[in-house]
């Protein structure tokens, strides 16, 4: 089943009268359970693409359907609610609320969804256990390493049971060991829980772990390689 269907998406930025074509008529379909890397040189449009399929930005042309919802037709406010219910995000940095503990950060999204307390607490524990942070639950982000913070971010992204997780260069700020560790966790969640991951990266070791690699060049898909 497709979780994302994007058809003919183009994005033009025109900040100061000098239009930049960041994406050019991209067609994309992501199926449930994929572990997909979006790769390409800097400025090739990876972030732009992830933002559009994540409902953070709107394409200049084309349409995006997520889990049967035409998100390109939603208003800004509707998009906020849509993201809350259906999409998990892991950013390169500043993923967490600094004044909340790991536990509270994970619980926070479920609070936004008004999930009952018992469910929130159980799921928070389960998720922090899944990312190997049982002993760091009551630490604030500032007391965690970069890798640990990203693992909390993954747990947080999973909390609302999203259709898929978008991660824009999740390992860019991590050392080799933390990168490996984070990818192990993501791969395991993908394998065991059938969580769909779409992540962008520059890192060859990360690319090697992907089961599908979409390469962008100048805002267009240059190759789309499946490795199953």
């Amino acid at each position: 089943m497709s979780v994302i269907i994007a058809k003919g998406i183009s994005k033009t930025y025109d900040p100061d009268g000098m239009p930049v074509l960041a994406l050019q008529r991209i067609d994309l379909e992501i199926r449930e359970g994929e572990f997909t890397a979006i790769v390409g040189p800097s400025g090739s449009g990876k972030s732009t693409l992830l933002n559009i399929i994540g409902g953070l930005d709107k394409p200049s042309e084309g349409m995006v359907e997520v889990g049967g919802h035409m998100i390109t037709e939603l208003s800004d406010n509707e998009l906020i609610d849509f993201r809350k219910e259906h999409i998990g995000f892991v950013f390169q940095a500043y993923n967490l609320i600094p004044v909340l503990t790991a536990r509270e950060n994970v619980e926070f999204v479920m609070l936004l969804q008004q999930r009952p307390k018992a469910e929130r607490e159980a799921r928070t524990k389960e998720l922090l256990h899944a990312v190997g942070l049982d002993d760091k639950m009551d630490k604030r982000p500032g007391e965690l390493s970069g890798g640990q913070q990203q693992r909390v971010a993954v747990a947080r992204a999973l909390a609302p049971k999203p259709a898929f997780i978008l991660a824009d260069e999740p390992t860019a700020n991590l050392d080799t060991k933390s990168t490996e560790n984070l990818l192990d966790i993501m791969a395991e969640l993908n394998r065991e829980e059938k969580i769909t991951f779409i992540f962008s990266t520059h890192d060859q070791r990360v690319i090697n772990r992907a089961r599908r690699v979409i390469t962008l060049v100048d805002g267009a898909v240059a190759s789309d390689e499946k490795r199953d």
């Binding site: 972030s47 933002n51 994540g54 953070l56 930005d57 406010n77 906020i80 609610d81 993201r83 809350k84 219910e85 995000f89 950013f91 390169q92 940095a93 500043y94 993923n95 609320i97 600094p98 004044v99 909340l100 509270e104 619980e107 926070f108 999204v109 609070l111 936004l112 969804q113 947080r156 992204a157 609302p160």
Partner: protein, 408 residues
């Protein structure tokens, strides 16, 4: 969890938050201080006017005050006074003869209001006896003595033991004169009053004012002090129905300026609060704006993961409200302590005594604060904080998550 986040966010920039909290607290304190000062001054003024001059209630013949015509006397004043003294709410009663006339000396003449008083009765009602600064209060068995004020002595160029001739109309309409000797000089602290009033012994005056009438019946005014000033209006009503032939008035009715002065204080305190809060608005706006701008990416992230605009908006508003919520009690506490101290010790303004005297104000201002001022100040602060947070909160929700996140 939003209040919790807001609370913790406040303490991220501890120093900055403490500075705003301090500023708000000092603002509240300043407003309370100024209100306490103004109220103390106003109440002091009213109190001294009541104690020295007006008393709580006065009773006259209904027509007396139209022209201060001494013919309009109180009917059976002895019986009235006796009945008044029996009433539990009444502390003291003084029956007076009152007439307008002329005080002259070889060097000058002035229009005055002459009050013929019974020295002992009067001492229970006004503070005249304590206000004597030179000479003495009426002594028994001395005849035709007069008490004048320092201001009057100046105007008439006379001093202790000087002779003073009083001229006024008898109740029959005839002009009469009497020679009096200055026995004491008083200073009530209220220059306008002092410049127009003199006191003589009631029996001396009655003899001149209504020769032939029984002395004790020559009464134009009955001044009454109550145990509780608050009861003035109700007691006055009671007296009015008890003595339908007389006009009973409270100090508010006699001196409408007192009432106005008292009520103006409320307005004044709102103005102080308003000005101070206006200044605080800028401080709070600035702080909250900084808090929003430095958390630009974080707020972008929150909106990206699904925190809606209402929640983001209320988070910022909460932060400002919490600053106010911490600061307001601090300021109120400071104010309360100041009131406790200055209410007892007062502030001595004798350096400005000349101008204070001109307006009948006391030299030592004992601070007073109506209790409701505290919560009014609290509400003002919270309202100010709310108002000041609106713009920063609006700034926060109008950021676009993609742009905020791009900066990561």
């Amino acid at each position: 969890m939003i209040p919790l986040i807001a609370w913790r966010n406040i303490w991220r920039s501890r120093t900055r938050s403490l500075v705003v909290i301090g500023a708000i607290a000092i603002g509240v304190w300043a407003a309370l201080f100024m209100t306490g000062f103004a109220t103390g001054m106003a109440r002091g003024y009213v109190r001294s006017a009541v104690d020295n001059i007006v008393s709580h209630l006065q009773m006259h013949h209904p027509q007396f005050k139209e022209d201060y015509d001494a013919r309009f006397m109180v009917d059976t004043p002895g019986a009235v006074a006796d009945r008044l003294r029996e009433m539990p709410s009444i502390k003291a009663v003084s029956a007076r003869a009152v007439v307008n006339g002329m005080a002259s000396t070889p060097k000058g003449a002035r229009g005055v209001q002459i009050k013929g008083i019974n020295p002992d009765e009067e001492a229970g009602v006004t503070t005249l006896r304590e206000k004597i600064v030179e000479g003495s209060y009426f002594l028994p068995d001395r005849r035709n003595e007069v008490l004048i004020s320092v201001a009057m002595a100046d105007k008439l160029h006379i001093k202790m033991r000087s002779k003073l001739v009083l001229t006024f109309q008898e109740t029959s309409g005839e002009l009469t004169t009497g020679a009096f000797r200055v026995a004491g000089i008083f200073d009530s602290g209220n220059k306008p009053f002092d410049e127009t009033h003199i006191f003589v012994d009631h029996s001396d005056m009655a003899a001149l004012l209504a020769p032939g009438s029984p002395t004790e019946d020559v009464i134009q005014e009955i001044a009454i002090m109550l145990h509780a000033p608050k009861t003035a209006a109700t007691v006055s009503d009671t007296l009015q129905s008890l003595f339908p032939g007389l006009l009973s008035e409270t100090y508010h009715q006699i001196s409408p300026d007192l009432e106005m002065y008292e009520s103006q204080i409320n307005t004044v305190s709102y103005i102080y609060l308003g000005i101070i809060m206006l200044a605080l608005v800028f401080g709070i706006v600035n702080t909250m704006l900084m808090a929003v701008l430095e958390r630009y990416r974080e707020i972008g992230m929150l909106m990206a993961i699904g925190m809606n605009k209402i929640k983001v908006f209320s988070m910022i508003v909460f932060e400002a409200l919490m600053l106010g919520l911490i600061a307001a009690p601090l300021g109120m506490g400071l104010g309360w302590v100041s009131m406790l101290y200055l209410g007892r010790k007062g502030i001595n303004l004798s350096a400005y005594s000349e101008s204070l005297r001109l307006y009948g104000l006391e030299q030592i201002i004992y601070f007073e604060l109506p209790p409701e001022t505290y919560w009014q100040a609290g509400i003002f602060v919270m309202f100010t904080a709310l108002l000041a947070s609106l713009y920063p909160a609006w700034k926060a929700i109008s950021l676009r998550p993609v742009e905020a996140i791009r900066k990561i």
